[in-house]
Amino acid sequence: MSRYFSNIYDTVNTLWTGMQITFRHMINIRKDNVTLQYPEERWPRPERNIGFNHEDYNVIRSRLHVDIDDCIGCYRCERACPVDCIKIETIKSDRGEDLPKVKHTGVTSNGTKKGFVVSRFTIDMSECCYCNLCTYPCPEECIFMVGGPNSSKHPIDYEFSEVDRKDLIYQFAKKLTPNQKDSLTKVDEKVEA
């Protein structure tokens, strides 16, 4: 019988404790609120205010970007990708030669002479798993996740939703017409010969 009453007492007591907690949160909502009103209030990145000071925000995984003028077509990022979302095609060209017709520069910003024209460089962002593995092997540091330490190269962008799935396949290489492609391939053959 005493158990019966102690049970009732426990119930009332513990439930009342819980109600006090929720009530306290309710009246302190101005202080406790953790919601951001998204489209108007954005998460301030990179210095994101989460209650801590973020002076140096050193990494970020937002989306991939390629500085195609620096790309030497070495295929290392394609090989590093675990989900094969990077596709590269190259055409051999004279080492270090500018080809103004296809807007190809022969030398990268690091001074490396390019031996290939990159005719295709696509990244399917809908397949990308944001593992960051492709950015490490790049010898020219031309493929990177935007923002963070790379914010000088490309501003942060984390809202890249698209209406059409095709638009998520990013084309980085310079557009080549079939004629240009053929002529380049001929140069290629000439070099071979």
Binding site: V34, G51, F52, N58, V59, I60, N132
Partner: protein, 372 residues
């Protein structure tokens, strides 16, 4: 009291159901509210991670391990790299070891917070869930601060970690822990000691110790049954032997040993232990270069290894077979949630439908890891 046997009815819980924690289908045979048999149907999230792993190189497996236990990716990574380092016979430097332990324990807190909160949700309490998510969010913020990702980190690499800790990480982490510890009391007052919660969980779904061992149940679920077994203590890997922490076990405080409440309570206590470990690790962490011990080329010798680590859900084992080629012959993941789910039928027959979901919640399964 005689048992009245009525007509049996088959009820499909899932694949889309609020309480199955993913896409799981439970084929439940019931008599009114009383459940007599449960047949779990798995595989809705099956993507054969093990086949994937055979076609990629060793370091490319790590992003796939993230996606198995997506609530504790750090621990998934940790298990894989520990196994790989043992197979290759290398040892990563001190700083890396400490960073890994800190990250794994933070992730354990995050994972347990989600498990506890969702368990409250299964019982019907909405508010504690959001309080716990609020605090989990801060842990994810720290991860984002460290490695740029919030959920699937690909942070621990073989022989190192992908990024060094940011400069003021220690300060932030201590600040978080100081904030976090009082919150545990609030969770307890709001949810744990709530009489309705105790009534719903105590004495329900008892897993006796021998049944738990026979079903391979591990981690907090096994400790809830009173077995003091923790891979961190009993088969220490990495540098876990340097830290002082307790292994909380169930005591049957409000009911029988091994009931849902014990499993819940062990998780709550483990959160406190993780906080202890993080504090110790932050105090001792040495300086160093995290890329120092990272091998240039990952080509383990011919051989195989089975190594288990303690993930928030239990013994997470990796069986890795190498034949000296750049990609593994076989990577097998022994997932703790898989074994935990297997005992659902035995544990929950005879209970009511509401209890089945309470038991399922207390096992803390992650379908991404069960289906792999």
């Amino acid at each position: 009291m005689g048992v009245v046997q009525g007509d049996q009815m088959v009820l499909n819980i899932g694949p889309q159901h609020p309480s199955t924690h993913g896409v799981l289908r439970l084929e439940v045979t019931t008599d009114g509210e009383i459940v007599s048999k449960i047949t779990p149907h798995l595989g809705y999230l099956h993507r054969c991670f093990e086949k994937h792993a055979e076609n990629v190189t060793y370091e490319q497996v790590i992003p796939f391990t993230d996606r198995c236990d997506y609530l504790a990716s750090m621990n998934s990574n940790f298990g894989y790299v520990v196994a790989m380092e043992e197979l290759m016979g290398i040892e990563s430097c001190e700083r890396v070891q400490y960073i890994r332990v800190i990250m794994a324990e933070l992730n354990r807190i995050a994972s347990h917070l989600l498990a506890l909160g969702v368990y409250g949700l299964d019982i019907g309490a909405f508010t504690p869930f959001l309080y716990m998510l609020r605090d989990r969010e801060r842990i994810l913020d720290m991860f984002e601060y460290t490695c740029g990702a919030r959920l699937l980190y690909n942070y621990m690499w073989i022989g190192g970690v992908s990024h060094d800790l940011p400069k003021d990480f220690e300060k932030i982490c201590i600040e978080f822990l100081d904030y976090f510890e009082p919150q545990i009391d609030e969770y307890n007052n709001l949810l744990t000691y709530n009489k309705i919660f105790i009534e719903r969980t105590a004495d329900v779904g008892v897993i006796p110790a021998d049944v738990a061992i026979s079903y391979g149940v591990s981690g907090p679920n096994l400790r809830g049954s009173g077995v003091k077994w923790d891979v961190r203590k009993d088969e220490p890997y990495s540098i876990y032997d340097r830290f002082e922490f307790d292994v909380p076990t169930g005591t049957g405080e409000f009911g029988t040993l091994g009931d849902c409440f014990d499993r819940y309570w062990v998780r709550m206590l483990e959160v406190t232990e993780s906080v202890k470990i993080i504090r110790q690790a932050l105090k001792d962490i040495p300086q160093g270069d995290v890329f120092e011990t990272m091998p240039k080329k990952i080509r383990p010798p011919v051989g195989s290894i089975y190594r288990r680590t303690e993930s928030p859900r239990g013994d997470l084992g990796y069986y890795i077979v190498s034949d000296g080629k750049p990609s593994p012959t076989r990577v097998k993941m022994r997932s703790p949630a898989f074994t935990a789910l297997s005992c659902l039928d035995e544990v929950s027959s005879g209970w009511m439908i509401s209890d089945v979901l309470a038991i399922l919640g207390s096992l803390d399964i992650v379908l991404g890891e069960i289906d792999r």
